[in-house]
């Protein structure tokens, strides 16, 4: 079976879900005739028509709120943020309205907010963001951030079928660089389950999205040069976190490095460190370490962006420190 890209996998999931369920529809800026800034929704208009692939005004509050209203009525909207950075405009609507709707008003709000995320692409401070930390903090929202083509498809299907709001972050660096075979049949990846991207016994790297590949490269190098057996956990879901998988790898290797592309302070790594402390402190042979971006807006010049974001050598260095602790 032929391989398809991470981007095509997302499109395939959207296509299949729209075919499967007439309540699924797309809402966003330039997603129709143009097919979206990255062409993720390309072809959907032709197949499903204007009433199910809606080009909206430039109104992130408006389209996220409208999606919520439609979801209350039984629809399953999928909203595109042209770049995920603009989800900040809908922060009130998502955290105050959408996230609380079921709890305070018993209103089902099955909807997906998706968009191109992440850096390493010379996008500058407003086209490279990783907004997960601002949302895993809000009870009522779910957050996924896949790294493989198969997970991108399977998690998108799960997100669309989920009865609550799921924020689906797509890493634009992976869109066309990553390919994979799609499992046959109705491929759904459950939300809240991590993936062991690489088995190992000496130490664990917990990460997600684009840095999964940097962690895997580092693991290779550490095996080659240091004979270290490194386990790599791809979280896939950030809310809810897969505590079982985190605890399992800690108890297996007793050394944990958390890697994320997002800035350091207040990032997801902090929450994971706290949970490891609470659930398996006794199993730790070394402190939980973090490799993250520096705490600055992401600059645009390649030399600056490369310095600010975490790179494979950083992971190698940190892992060596951890192993030798």
């Amino acid at each position: 079976m032929a391989e398809i890209t991470y981007l095509e996998a997302i499109r395939e999931a959207l296509f299949e879900e729209m075919e499967r369920d007439p309540n699924v529809f797309m809402l966003g800026e330039d997603i129709g005739a143009y097919g979206g800034a990255f062409k993720v929704t390309d072809g959907l208009l032709a197949k499903f028509g204007e009433s199910r692939v809606i080009d909206s005004p430039i109104s992130e509050i408006g389209i996220v709120g409208a999606a919520a209203g439609a979801a209350h009525m039984g629809m399953r909207p999928v909203v595109e943020m042209q770049f995920i950075d603009f989800i900040a405009n809908a922060y009130d609507m998502l955290t105050n309205y959408v996230a609380t709707a079921r709890y305070r008003a018993f209103l089902p709000t099955p909807m997906v907010v998706r968009g191109p995320s992440g850096g390493y692409v010379r996008g500058g401070p407003f086209h490279s963001q990783n907004p997960e930390a601002g949302f895993i903090h809000t009870p009522g929202l779910k957050v996924v951030y896949p790294s493989t083509a198969a997970d991108a498809k399977g998690l998108m299907k799960a997100a669309i079928r989920d009865d609550d709001c799921v924020l689906f972050f797509e890493h634009k660096y992976l869109y066309r660089r990553i390919k994979g075979e799609m499992p046959a049949g109705d491929h759904v990846v459950p939300i809240g389950k991590a993936r062991v991207a690489r088995q190992g016994s000496d130490l664990s790297i917990i990460t997600y999205a684009a840095t999964v590949y940097k962690a895997l490269d580092a693991a290779e190098q550490l095996e080659r040069e240091d004979g270290l057996s490194v386990e790599v956990i791809d979280l896939r879901s950030l809310a809810p976190l897969d505590d079982a998988a985190i605890v399992a790898t800690v108890k297996k290797t007793n050394r944990v490095l958390i890697v994320h592309e997002d800035t350091r302070t207040g990032g997801v790594a902090g929450e994971i460190t706290a949970r490891i402390n609470e659930t398996c402190f006794e199993w730790l042979d070394a402190p939980v370490l973090r490799v993250t971006a520096h705490d600055v807006p992401l600059p645009y010049a390649p030399s600056l962006e490369d310095f600010v974001l975490p790179q494979t050598p950083d992971i190698v260095l940190a892992a060596r420190r951890l192993a030798s602790y």
Partner: protein, 388 residues
């Protein structure tokens, strides 16, 4: 149909609020009265009276500290709430604000629900999770608002987008205050609804103030109906203290929406006679302004006079008043019997899946249920034992 923004309505409406020397009474748009039967016109009286009396009962309960949190009044705005909601029919959905108790009652909310909700009872519509009249029932056709102003406009755009997509002839109605028109959510929501030709009626309740802020500090428009021009949609200003004029103006917009003509604005001129909430002493209100509205432009007094002139008997109205009192007394007695919410209910239903949160481990000893959820090892709240 004549221009939706006839100079008379505007001028009068504006003067009604801003010009102290002039009577605030606003001439209502003539005609169409006949579209309502006698029974319906008496029903409108019932809803307005029920709204006012129920709020008066809430004031008593508030003074007895039986109301949890603040109490918000719609005194003097009963006609705007009742008359506009009355223009909808079954299947339509309405999004009320804090001063739309009357709209909710018309749509089927019961005094018992309102009382339990204000008293945060365990069997109140939100089980004690949300305040005052923040609750909804899409079956009956009203939806629970949240505090951030303007947010319900995009939400109702989506609700009505769905009606349009499905080819249903249902209509949505959303209320915003003069103040809420300044929010980005209002703007993005109404523009989206307009462009998408959503069957939505946006009611701007122009009651002169946003908390302490007069409309002159909220916007430079003479009439908020002018905002319709900025969105390319029809708009109309009506006398919100005339229940029939309110009904008729709203009905015109509702009918347009039902005919597939999209989104409209109806500005209802009224006046907030009480403070923003019971705690507000209205120090910022010019002397005599509220009294003048009470004296010259009380929506219930005006409607009683009109009904009487149209042949309603004092007995008929007295019977309605008595019925209202009976219903409120009965509801109060029942509401007071209900208990407070069970603490553990706070952890139910944040998501469909998982259905509940586990109590945090340090709640040991606080409740039996917490004991059970204690994990034998570790400190966390995560039951990972199964997977290890």
């Amino acid at each position: 149909m004549s221009s939706p923004r006839s100079a008379t309505t505007r001028g009068a409406g504006r003067a009604g609020r801003s010009n102290a020397s002039q009577s605030p009474t606003v001439a209502s748009v003539p005609d169409a009265d006949t579209t309502l039967t006698r029974a319906q016109r008496l029903e409108l009286y019932y809803w307005m009276r029920l709204t006012r009396s129920l709020e008066e009962r809430l004031v008593n309960l508030y003074r007895q500290t039986k109301v949890v949190g603040g109490l918000f009044r719609s005194l003097g705005q009963e006609a705007d709430a009742v008359g506009s909601a009355y223009a909808l029919r079954k299947g339509d959905i309405l999004s009320p604000l804090i001063r739309n108790l009357g709209s909710m009652l018309v749509k089927g909310a019961t005094p018992l629900e309102i009382l339990k909700q204000y008293m945060a009872k365990e069997d109140s519509p939100t089980r004690g999770r949300e305040l005052n009249i923040h609750f909804g029932d899409t079956e009956r056709g009203f939806i629970g608002q949240i505090s951030p102003l303007g947010d319900m406009v995009p939400v109702m755009a989506g609700v009505t987008l769905t009606f349009r997509m499905r080819g249903e002839d249902r209509v949505g109605l959303v209320y915003v205050g003069d103040g809420a028109t300044s929010t980005g959510a209002f703007h993005e929501g109404i523009n989206f609804a307009a462009v998408q030709r959503c069957p939505l009626v946006v009611i701007i309740e122009n009651n002169g103030y946003a908390y302490s802020t007069p409309t002159s500090k909220q916007s430079l428009v003479k009439q908020f109906a002018d905002k319709g021009i900025g969105y390319g949609i029809p708009s109309e200003t009506a006398d919100g203290n005339d229940v029939i004029a309110t009904y008729e103006a709203t009905k015109r917009a509702v009918d347009r929406a039902r005919r597939g003509e999209g989104t409209s604005i109806v500005e209802l001129m009224t006046y907030r006679r009480k403070g923003h909430a019971e705690h507000d002493n209205q120090s910022y209100v010019p002397d005599g302004e509220g009294e003048r509205w009470a004296r010259e432009n009380d929506p219930i007094d005006r409607y009683v006079a009109r009904l009487t002139s149209e042949g309603a008997t004092a007995q008929e109205l007295a019977d309605i008043d008595a019925r209202v009192q009976r219903e409120i007394d009965a509801a109060t007695d029942i509401a007071e019997l209900s208990g407070v919410p069970e603490p553990l209910d706070a952890l139910e239903g944040i998501y469909a899946d998982p259905p509940r949160e586990q109590p945090l481990w340090f709640r040991e000893g606080k409740r039996a249920a917490v004991e059970e959820n204690e994990r034998p090892e570790g400190w966390g709240t995560y039951d990972t034992s199964g997977d290890l």
